[in-house]
Symmetry: C2
Subunit: 198 residues, 2 copies
Amino acid sequence: MAQAGSLQALVDALRCLPGVGPKSAQRMAFHLLQRDRAGASLLARALAQALERVHHCSGCNNFTEAETCELCASDRRDASLLCVVESPADLLMIEQTHSFQGQYYVLMGRLSPLDGVGPEQLALDRLVRRALDGKVREVILATNFTVEGEATAHYLGELLRPRGLEVSRIARGLPVGGELEYTDAGTVAQALLERRAT
Amino acid sequence: MAQAGSLQALVDALRCLPGVGPKSAQRMAFHLLQRDRAGASLLARALAQALERVHHCSGCNNFTEAETCELCASDRRDASLLCVVESPADLLMIEQTHSFQGQYYVLMGRLSPLDGVGPEQLALDRLVRRALDGKVREVILATNFTVEGEATAHYLGELLRPRGLEVSRIARGLPVGGELEYTDAGTVAQALLERRAT
């Protein structure tokens, strides 16, 4: 039995959300129509408004509604430090630590040749131009410690070092409060390898 | 650090979806804005259109765009059998079996006093009026075998039987292909209790 056209269209449209398969999409559609029509209406408007207003910051490539985001426009941030992250969520996580006062560049992805994401797709030339603004002294690579994140960091290092920039990578090691016994072998090995004088 | 207003509004709005917490909502918003703006736009329109067009069928209470849904309007369905289910998904599941030729009534929920869902919230008087149309002979209760589903079936039985309707409940027992050894004790006990002469 086919469902009503608009209902089936809504179920299909919900599948564009990451991690939402046919069953969840159906459950979401039923929930919205039966229990939360106000929420659904709000969501439709929020989507349209975000699509219209949100674009990339001319400085850090993060999402913003202004031409330049608050962070890039702030004169309290150290312009000599540029921290490169994969996603806006990573930037938010670093900001939550209150331990970094420099500026950011958000890649909006990672190199992943298998998914067809190469240097052009990530527009790495934009990052290079950003890093060579004359103020940046050190680029901190804070991509994830996944295979793709590591490859991206390696590639960016090779790209930026010859241009006279200092390039660093965030540390790998045991988490704060971590115990050797309950940490995976790869992490312990890295913590040994990257040990530092005290 | 606060995110752009429209972006935060989108993240908040996505949380109206069942099973979506703050982290997933953020991931969904980033995904839509970065990777699937076409999908997001489609979703916004699908939501608006479904909200405008989809309502409840005057016969079976299921979602439909017409005044009466295809199933209720069909003259191929046996009007003497009325199958009561909790949700549109349950109706679809029964239709997929191709083993039922009667008509349906969709409760759009179940009795659940703890959640404030009583007979009024489910508008059970509408079901009673539907069942007493003069054509219905037997009402088949196909609510789930959960605590709430069972309570709902019991309540409906007490409500409909005194009005001269035959009331039945779908069978509980081992699943097709099921083995005693790997079935839970409660199901095996019910299968014994509800045994039938062959």
